[in-house]
């Protein structure tokens, strides 16, 4: 087979496969845009002549998806911000200070990353039950409980990543800042933090996605407060044994997928480099 032909052949296969891979997503958006009678047709067609936003309107109004979208955003953004602040402080302590048990703490950070967090649903449920008695906003049925657990799950990796970035900032910079009369606090937030923050984009995106996608903990903690449900939970509630509003369900799925898709496209290069780097080291 001549080389040009064989490459053309491979490219044709590639395009067909890419089409198959993308098809479920195409079907999701298509179904969300179809008029209702076309969605529940026994003869579904892979196109529509009359696209409409009706399903999105239904998802946002009848199913109050807007509310759940806002809930999911609040949880994910709170996790990202808190995790940035807390892991920055911890990473600074672990790189810039020498103290006893520093090595022990580092080892613990590694070990804790290997715990399958799914196994912790039962004890965490009871922890959140106790938290509710002390601080209701952070206990069962409230968004705070989800922020807390996802913060805990994202911290070990975030601290681990940040350590490298903090260590890369020369100590001389700190000494210079001190000579200029900057307090340690000012140095920390006005010099060090801006320097390391960009390196955290990939980590932040990962913790955002984990919190955004989480179904298990939302399902476990938000038991009887429908107004505090997050997107994945709300979507699952839509699915009823017999009468499914597939148009609205697919509209909801679309709304849920778009932010993650955008994030992925933005950070994909860093993500791939990060994965390859993690694998190599």
């Amino acid at each position: 087979m001549p080389r040009g032909l064989s490459r053309g052949f491979y490219e044709a296969i590639t395009v067909v496969i890419a089409g198959i891979i993308a098809f479920p997503l195409y079907w999701m958006v298509l179904t969300a845009l179809k008029p209702e009678d076309e969605v529940i047709s026994a003869d579904p067609r892979p196109w529509t002549a009359e696209p409409t936003l009706d399903s999105f309107v239904r998802a946002l109004t009848v199913q109050s998806f807007g509310r759940y979208l806002a809930n999911s955003l609040v949880v994910a953004l709170a996790v990202v911000l808190l995790s940035l602040l807390i892991s920055f402080l911890a990473a600074t302590a672990l790189t810039r200070f020498r103290f006893r048990s520093r090595t022990t703490l580092l080892v613990m950070l590694l070990v804790v990353q290997m715990v399958p967090v799914e196994a912790l649903t039962i004890p965490l449920f009871f922890v959140m039950q106790s938290v509710r008695d002390v601080a209701p906003a952070f206990g069962l049925n409230h968004l705070g409980s989800l922020v807390l657990v996802h913060l805990a799950f994202s911290l070990p990796f975030a601290i681990w990543m940040l350590r490298g970035f903090v260590a890369a900032v020369p100590v001389e910079l700190e000494e210079a800042a001190t000579l200029d009369g900057a307090s340690r606090f000012r140095f920390l937030w006005q010099v060090l933090f801006p320097l390391v923050a960009p390196g955290l984009v990939a980590t932040s995106v990962l913790s955002f996605i984990h919190a955004w996608n989480d179904f298990l903990f939302a399902k476990t903690f938000i038991i009887s407060a429908a107004e505090n449900q997050t997107l994945p939970l709300a979507l699952q509630v839509f699915i009823k044994p017999d009468q499914n509003d597939w148009g609205a369900i697919m509209a909801g799925s679309t709304l849920m997928t778009i932010p993650v898709l955008v994030f992925f496209v933005v950070v994909q290069r860093r993500l791939v480099a990060g994965l390859a780097g993690a694998v190599k080291s």
Binding site: E11, P24, R96, F97, L216, P232, T257
Partner: protein, 301 residues
């Protein structure tokens, strides 16, 4: 490691360090350390609805919950199912991911971009959204798959094995991109001269792939295999959403969903916790194997 480390050591320094570490330690001890301890503790008690509400005293059972599990036929069948399901997903993910990574090296940039963009879409789809999309694609009456196959009315999620098959297809769909992207980066890192030498020696594409590329990719393959095992062994969302909580009469249960149902549906928290401990130990074994394999392949590099 010592680069960038301030060498001033003193009591004051230590105190400041702990002040900086305090928020992180508080969160991690409270929401990771303590729950791990609690998980083990709960698994040693008869802990049901009555004990939770304080209506009945706590009874220490020792390892009785574990004995109950080991004598329970359903536990063994769920464990077997979990292993088989995970194995199927892992093999499928690796085959698809590796094949497409190799394919990506054979085409021009535009075709590769098309493939990667599609894969990125599958990768980034949240598990719940992906599950609902696939559920709708395979819907008995309105699903596109039945329309294409001419089997309208056939219920995929009713049969035990067809249901597992559809869930596995969804899991493979959203997890092969990680394998593909990682292995593609790995293949790209192989020096061109190595492949040219193989081509000059008259090796076919298949032969080069099998005898040159795959051995060089071994360390990466180990990493993606173990990663996939860990992910697929603890699948929860896809099974829960697509089979409505574990299938008819629980025949599509996997370990993670089983533990959840024992605890939160049957209020057998002690038993659920014991399943959680077993799952953690099994994954720990895999992780240990992972670390050993990493160290060994590191020596070869």
């Amino acid at each position: 490691m010592t680069h960038g480390v301030t060498r001033r050591a003193g009591r004051g320094e230590g105190r400041t360090a702990y002040a900086y570490l305090a928020p992180a330690l508080l969160v991690l001890v409270g929401l990771m350390g303590y729950p791990i301890y609690q998980l083990v503790l709960i698994s040693l008690f008869d802990y049901g609805q009555e004990q939770v509400s304080g209506g009945a005293p706590l009874t220490f059972l020792g390892l009785d919950n574990y004995a109950t599990l080991l004598a329970d036929r359903q536990f063994w069948s769920v464990l077997g199912q979990t292993v088989a399901f995970a194995a199927f997903c892992v093999v499928g993910t690796l085959l698809v991911g590796t094949a497409l990574a190799v394919l990506a090296t054979k085409v021009r940039t535009w075709a590769r971009m098309v493939l990667f963009l599609a894969a990125l879409g599958a990768w980034s789809t949240p598990a719940v959204a992906g599950s609902t999309i696939w559920l709708f694609l395979f819907d008995a009456n309105f699903g596109f798959v039945n329309e294409v196959l001419g089997t309208t009315g056939f219920s995929w999620m009713f049969g035990k094995w067809t249901a597992f098959g559809v869930v596995a297809a969804e899991v493979i769909w959203c997890s092969f991109p990680f394998v593909m992207v990682t292995l593609y980066a790995g293949i790209k890192a192989i020096p061109g001269e190595v492949l040219e030498a193989a081509a000059l020696d008259g090796a076919s594409t298949w032969r080069t792939t099998r005898s040159v590329v795959l051995p060089l990719l071994r360390p990466l393959l180990i990493v993606v295999t173990i990663q996939s095992i860990i992910w697929d062994f603890k699948v929860f969302t896809q099974i829960y959403v697509m089979t409505s909580g574990g299938g008819i009469a629980g025949r599509n249960l996997v370990l993670n969903v089983y533990a959840y149902q024992q605890a939160f549906a049957a209020s057998e928290y002690g038993l659920g916790a014991a399943i959680g401990v077993v799952m953690t130990l099994l994954l720990l074994l895999v992780t240990l194997g992972y670390l050993r394999a990493l160290r060994r392949s590191g020596e070869e590099l």
